[in-house]
């Protein structure tokens, strides 16, 4: 537990900077992803700043309809959940400016806070009344429960190894060189967690939840205009937050902003590159996949901690 050394106002200033920066960076990554995928598929692809254009477009779009209060609250939960998640994770180790509100809770808090947005989103989309959004939500929930098992095992392994659930302490335990990263000191946990990450990020082969091309299903089709912008920025910061978490857990955190940016980029692109190569799983295949080797790796990681 390291309470912030900053007083409230500077704290708030840096929090706003962090959040805006994270959203901006998330959008850039989104652009890069589209570019990279296009190149892999032999297309030219949109410019890297395309997500910014999209975001501004939807912000100023108008909608003439609404579906009820819960429908409003969906994107609110989603965006607030994503930003809240980001704010619970310290970004730069030892730098109070980028420590965010991480004194509010430890790793367990971060884990459970991830669901906050998902739940709100699911409820909001479901109130739209479109049966297809519910189909997508059930797929998403099924997949989420599955990848959480290897992820939980990895978290338990790391917490047991560190003797703490505090993200600060976990990062602190990895200082002193690349060799101290949990990626290397507990490779099995890293395997489990990084495989779980593929599901968490919902890119191919685990993208049936969004089913981006073929059928218009899922929450994104239900929302437009300002709702959509909230969701887009939420998704951008959510992606970054997850990568920051993984960075803190496995890559020794970051001591400078630059290191954070680089590490987040590589973690993010791990799922993109996998997605570029592998075709899509059906939901039950995805569930079984996560309950298979990733879980085995996680169990092995925990056993390794218990035995050694």
């Amino acid at each position: 537990m390291s309470p912030s050394e900053l007083s409230l106002l500077p704290k708030l200033f840096w929090v706003v900077v962090s959040v805006v920066g994270a959203i901006a960076y998330g959008l850039v990554i989104g652009g890069i992803i589209r570019k990279v995928m296009a190149r892999i598929q032999g297309r030219i692809g949109p410019p890297v700043y395309q997500p910014y254009l999209d975001l501004f477009k939807v912000i100023f779009q108008r909608t003439a309809t609404w579906h009820g209060y819960m429908f409003y609250l969906g994107p609110v939960f989603r965006a607030a959940g994503a930003i809240g998640l980001f704010l619970l994770i310290p970004v730069v180790f030892g730098d109070p400016r980028f420590d965010n509100f991480s004194f509010n809770g430890d790793l367990l808090m971060v884990m459970y806070f991830m669901f906050f947005g998902c739940l709100g989103m699911a409820l909001g989309a479901a109130e739209g009344g479109h049966p297809h959004s519910v189909v997508a939500i059930t797929r998403g929930l099924s997949q989420m429960t599955a990848y959480e098992l290897p992820f939980s095992l990895a978290v338990v392994a790391i917490a047991a190894q560190t003797g703490s659930f505090s993200v600060h302490q976990i990062v602190a335990a990895q200082q002193g060189g690349v060799g101290h990263w949990f990626l290397f000191t507990n490779p099995l946990a890293a395997v489990a967690a990084f495989l779980a990450f593929l599901g968490m990020n919902m890119y191919s082969p685990f993208d049936i939840v969004l089913a981006p091309q073929e059928i218009p299903i899922g929450p994104p089709t239900e929302y437009n205009s300002a709702f959509m912008s909230a969701m887009m920025s939420g998704r951008a910061i959510f992606g970054v937050a997850k990568c920051v978490l993984y960075m803190d857990l496995f890559l020794g955190g970051a001591t400078t902003i630059l290191a954070a940016i680089v590490k987040v980029f590589f973690i993010y692109f791990w799922s993109i590159f996998v997605g570029a190569v592998f075709p899509r799983f059906r939901t039950e295949q995805a569930v079984r996949f996560f309950l298979g080797w990733p879980t085995a790796a996680g169990v092995a990681a925990v056993l390794a901690v218990m035995l050694f």
Binding site: F60, R62, T63, A64, T65, W66, H67, G68, M70, L73, V76, F77, A80, I83, L87, F101, F103, N104, G105, D106, L108, Y112, F115, L119, A122, L123, A126, E127, G128, G129, H130, P131, V134, I137, T138, L141, S142, T145, A146, E148, L149, V156, A157, A159, A160, S164, F165, S166, S225, A226, F227, A230, T283, E284, V287, L291, G298, L303, V305, M306
Partner: protein
């Protein structure tokens, strides 16, 4: 004091005079009969009272001025007086009962009834063995005759078979007496017992075998009970009730009197084995019976077998006379009542009992009470008798006999509660039964006697039943008696009683959170208050509901407050049956509650086994459990933990719970899930945990039993959560969810650490709040829509917005997502797991908690989101009382969300008392930290609220002001609008891919296991039942077989007939040391202080 000999002489004389009196008219003979009975009962009862108070001494009567051993002497002691009083009361009730039942009342019936009483008195009082034979003949002949008065073919056939076997018994008895007389030269029992060991011969050995087999036949021992059971089936139940209350007890007492003759370990083993075999097998065979009276026959045989089993224990001072007396009293009272009921509702087959006494609430209550009594549940005398008997056995070398005894008792639950299940009200309009007073009075009198004695016992100061608990229970009793009041009035009164009781509890300081008992009492009070409030909005289905509910709450207070092991178990069993009757009140409750009582019964017996192990270790109070050491501590702990695991529905023993939770009345389920499921947890905490505390390393090899329990908890959390995902019945979904949540609590307790216990206690409270909220809200939805099926609902958010909000809060809390209070529970539990080093289990718990998301979404979506069904467009919000109780619970959740410390700080104090170590390094109302992690509840809440407000403001700012709310059917279906508009709600096969993924683990293996288990038991019963062919010759063969078996294998004649040869081979030749065989016990008056009739000692 009336001269005891008049108890024989008067009825005998009257019996001969009655035909003359009858000349004056039937009324006259009835009056004479009645007066005789009153005299008989009055005389016996006055003896019993006087002996009980000690104002007179036990009396020996010498007949014909010849002192024993030459003359015949009688003895009147307390046991005799009680047995005869009971016989007298039974005689009165039976006479009353038989009046309207006989088509052509003949004087013979009355004469025989009186003769039976005379025989009973003689059999009970005499101390001369030949005289005993004479009275046995008198009773036997009267029995045959009264049985043969029945004109039915069945009765005649049964009576004939009974007579043949009875004849054999008489012959054996006579032969035995003759041999003994030849050996000892005396007929006086005490004299004979004193002389026999010195003069023992082969002839005496055979004589004892004959005597024993005679007793087996007379007392319906296995396998010679065939004719007696036929008798129950064929003969008028009023007559059978009379026999149960008179002859049977007298013969049992006669056996007790000649017991000193059966010296030696071998005889002790034979008698006990025979009794126990009769008990267990009789109950086993009864499970297969479809005919009610035959079932009662098996049950009688079994119960008497149990008493026979205890006779040697009584002789060895293992079991007190009081305990045995209570068991005998209970059996007579309950069995006679049940027999009378089979006469009032004359259906042979158990299936024909559907809707029995539906129009007669008094008879229904009495019938239920009789079943409770015979099953040995409190407050009836059998419960106390069983406890004292078991406690005596536990402290003796006979402790292992407790095992078959409990097994047999559980089998009793199986068939008696099946009977109760079958007798539940049917769908067809119940036939109207007009029951004359003289038919319903006898069972009422007997039940009242049992109840009064039992309640007196419950008032025993050693039991520690608090006056608060009594207040709740008496309120419940009064409401039960006032069940004729309109439902609304009862609900109001019940709520007032709960409110008053809660205020009194609060003002007496019983709700202090920093003690375990206070914490759990608070749970009970919160649950009772909030759910009683909700019930004001949703009427109960049955008028007994409110009274039973208060009784249940009172029994919970007993469990939570008492320090006595007996008081604890009495409260526990009271809780079992009151909740059973409440579950039974649901629409499909009878079937579900049957499973409930079977598993609760099994759990109860496991707990009893654990407590008995503790008693064996010398413990009497809960606080004394800490003194247990070694294996005693280990086994007590294991049995208690097993009972707990069954009672909370752990994986493997969970099949009862979803049914019970979902079929119980909608307004009762929240209490069942929120409060009652926590009581076993408290029990474990208060009782079992004490055992391990004082540093007893309870390890089974390298295996820590607590670790096993932890895995049971973890697997339950996982398995039940997974099953919840696939439920379409919303109550069943929440039921599985409850089981899973209690799994976490068990896991927390199993950790046996301050953090683990803190997690479990916190989760207990939190689970009460959120699961109560969900169940209450669901009850409102069911009340309005009339369906429990999720796929029938949808889109109710517009119609029931408050209920939607309540469910939303409930599911967020359950899921453990911050910022609501559920998170703190998960946070504590995982840290406790890591601290304990149970890493895999912690990960499993995390996984299980995340598996809850799918079903939570399913719950809220299928009911409230998606598209509203046409038929639900006019649905109203739940009743105001329900909404109000929702808000109370939500307020509680919100308080815990921002300031979990308000509860966690006292909990920490409570737990510290056990482990000496605080769970937290920092603990304020809003901020918590442990060695492992930290959590700022207020900070997270404010962060979430601020962020949500900012985002919402942003969206509202950018949205245009004029938007149209889209109606349900204004949606795009991939560019096409389906004509005509119809609702499309995704609710069937909701998680189909998920189900496919998990299909290998979803096979119903546990159900299959229990099914095959019960089938095996029943087929075993079926196979054993075939022993009784119904053929008199077979029965004779059995009798011969038993004699031969005993003579040839167990007591082979000594090689030399010399009485002085104490052969090492055969056990009986060795004269039993005088000290170990107090032959006088049988002829002495029971020592003052051992008082049958319920004084707990």
């Amino acid at each position: 004091m009336v001269d005891p000999i008049l108890l024989i002489a008067v009825p005998l004389g009257i019996a001969f005079l009655l035909p003359l009196v009858d000349r004056l008219g039937r009324a006259a003979s009835r009056w004479v009969h009645f007066l005789t009975l009153v005299f008989y009962t009055g005389a016996a009862a006055s003896w019993a009272l006087a002996l009980h108070k000690g104002t007179v001494a036990a009396k020996d009567i010498i007949t014909a001025s010849w002192p024993p051993p030459v003359g015949i002497n009688l003895h009147m002691g307390l046991a005799e007086a009680v047995i005869l009083s009971l016989a007298g009361i039974t005689g009165i009730c039976a006479a009353l009962y038989l009046v309207p039942r006989e088509e052509k009342p003949s004087i013979r019936s009355i004469v025989l009834q009186v003769l039976l009483l005379a025989g009973t008195a003689g059999l009970t009082l005499t101390r001369d063995i030949f005289n005993m034979f004479v009275f046995l003949e008198i009773t036997s002949i009267s029995t045959f005759a009264i049985v043969l008065l029945g004109k039915e073919k069945k009765a005649l056939e049964a009576g004939f078979k009974y007579m043949i076997l009875g004849g054999i018994a008489s012959v054996l008895l006579l032969l035995g007496i003759a041999f003994l007389y030849k050996t000892t030269g005396t007929l006086n029992m005490a004299d004979m017992a004193a002389k026999l060991p010195a003069l023992f011969t082969g002839g005496a050995a055979a004589a004892l075998v004959f005597l024993f087999v005679c007793m087996v036949i007379e007392l319906k021992g296995f396998p010679l009970n065939g004719p007696a059971i036929d008798l129950y089936e064929g003969v008028e139940p009023g007559v059978m009730a009379l026999i149960v209350g008179t002859t049977l007890n007298a013969v049992l007492f006669a056996f007790w009197k000649i017991l000193p003759l059966f010296g030696g370990a071998a005889w002790e083993g034979v008698i006990m084995t025979s009794g126990m075999a009769t008990f267990v097998l009789g109950n086993l065979f009864a499970t297969r019976q479809k005919k009610v009276r035959r079932m009662l026959g098996y049950s009688s045989s079994a119960q008497v077998g149990l008493l026979v089993f205890m006779l040697p224990l009584l002789r060895n001072h293992v079991v007190t006379l009081a305990a045995l007396g209570l068991l005998l009293l209970n059996h007579t009272l309950a069995k006679a009542s049940l027999l009378w009921f089979t006469g009032i509702h004359e259906e042979e087959e158990i299936g024909g009992w559907r809707g029995a006494f539906a129009n007669n609430p008094l008879l229904r209550i009495l019938f239920g009470a009789s079943v409770l009594a015979i099953a040995g549940l409190p407050p009836f005398p059998g419960f106390w008798g069983k406890w004292y008997a078991l406690a005596g056995m536990a402290r003796s070398p006979y402790a292992w006999w407790i095992l078959p005894l409990l097994l047999g008792s559980l089998l009793e639950f199986v068939y008696y509660f099946r009977w109760l299940k079958e007798s539940a009200r049917g769908v067809e309009p119940a036939r109207s039964e007009v029951v004359p007073f003289s038919l319903s009075a006898p069972p009422a009198i007997f039940t009242a006697i049992g109840l009064v004695l039992g309640i007196r016992a419950l008032y025993g100061p050693a039991l520690g039943v608090s006056s608060q608990a009594w207040l709740w229970m008496w309120a419940g009793g009064i409401l039960l008696a006032a069940a004729f009041l309109p439902e609304r009035v009862q609900a109001g009164l019940s709520f007032l009683a709960v409110l008053l009781g809660s205020i009194l509890l609060y003002s007496s300081g019983a709700l202090a959170l920093h003690t375990l008992s206070g914490f759990f009492t608070s749970l009970v009070v919160i649950g009772a208050l909030v759910f009683s409030l909700a019930r004001l909005g949703i009427p109960a289905l049955h008028r007994n509901y409110h009274g039973l509910f208060l009784l249940l709450a009172g029994s919970l207070l007993i469990v939570l407050k008492t320090d006595s092991l007996l008081g604890f178990f009495a409260g526990w069993e009271l809780m079992t049956w009151t909740s059973y009757f409440l579950v039974r009140q649901g629409k499909k409750g009878p079937a579900a509650s049957y499973l409930y009582i079977l598993f609760s019964g099994a759990a109860g017996f496991l707990v009893l086994g654990g407590l008995m192990t503790a008693v064996a270790g010398g413990a009497v109070t809960i606080s004394g459990l800490g003194a247990l050491r070694g294996n005693t501590a280990l086994w007590a702990w294991i049995l208690l933990a097993a009972g707990l695991a069954v009672k909370v529905g752990s994986w493997g023993a969970h099949i009862w719970a979803p049914e019970s939770y979902s079929e119980a009345p909608d307004v009762f389920t929240p209490f069942l899930s929120g409060v009652i499921s926590k009581i076993p947890v408290f029990a474990f905490l208060a009782v079992a945990a004490k055992i391990a505390l004082p540093g007893v390393t309870t390890t089974l090899g390298t295996l820590d039993p607590a670790w096993v329990l932890g895995w049971i908890g973890g697997l339950t959390a996982f398995g039940m959560t997974l099953l919840a995902v696939f439920q379409d019945d919303m109550k069943k979904l929440l039921a599985y969810s409850s089981l899973g949540q209690v799994g976490y609590i068990v896991l927390g307790f199993a950790m046996m650490s301050s953090l683990g216990w803190t997690a479990a206690l916190y989760h207990s409270l939190n689970h009460l709040l959120f699961k109560g909220l969900l169940f209450v809200t669901i009850a409102g939805v069911i009340y309005r829509t009339g369906t429990r099926s999720l796929s029938d609902l949808g889109g109710l958010i517009t119609r029931m917005p408050f209920s939607f909000f309540a469910v939303l809060i409930g599911i967020i809390t359950l899921s453990g997502v911050p910022p609501l209070s559920g998170f703190a529970g998960k946070w504590l539990l995982y840290q406790a797991g890591i601290q304990k080093g149970w890493y895999l289990l912690t990960a499993l718990a995390m996984f299980a908690s995340i598996l809850a998301f799918p079903y939570l979404f399913k719950l809220i979506h299928s009911i409230f989101l998606g598209q509203l069904k046409r038929e639900h467009r006019e649905i109203r919000e739940a009743p105001k009382a329900v909404v109000l109780s929702q808000w109370i619970l939500i307020a509680g959740i919100m308080l815990l969300s921002v300031a979990p410390g308000t509860v966690l700080v006292p909990i920490q104090e409570a737990v510290k008392a056990f482990f000496g170590k605080a769970a937290f390094t920092t603990a304020t109302a809003t901020e918590l930290a442990t060695d492992l992690g930290y959590f700022h509840a207020m900070g997270v809440m404010s962060m979430v609220v601020v962020l949500a407000v900012i985002v919402l403001a942003g969206i509202l700012f950018f949205l245009p002001k004029h938007t149209t709310k889209v109606k349900q059917l204004d949606i795009v279906y991939s560019g096409e609008v389906p004509p005509p508009p119809e609702e499309i709600q995704y609710a069937q096969n909701f998680f189909r891919p998920f189900e496919r993924a998990y299909s290998p683990v979803l096979l119903p293996r546990v159900k299959a296991f229990w099914k095959s288990f019960s089938e095996s038991v029943l087929s075993l019963a079926e196979a054993g039942r075939r022993l009784y062919t119904g053929d008199g010759q077979t029965y004779i063969l059995y009798a011969l077989g038993v004699v031969l078996f005993l003579v040839l294998f167990i007591f082979p004649a000594p090689a030399s007939s010399s009485s002085k040869a104490p052969g090492g081979k055969t056990g009986y030749i060795v004269p039993v040391p005088r000290k170990a065989r107090p032959a006088e016990v049988g002829v002495q008056a029971p020592r003052p202080g051992i008082l049958p009739g319920g004084k707990a000692k």
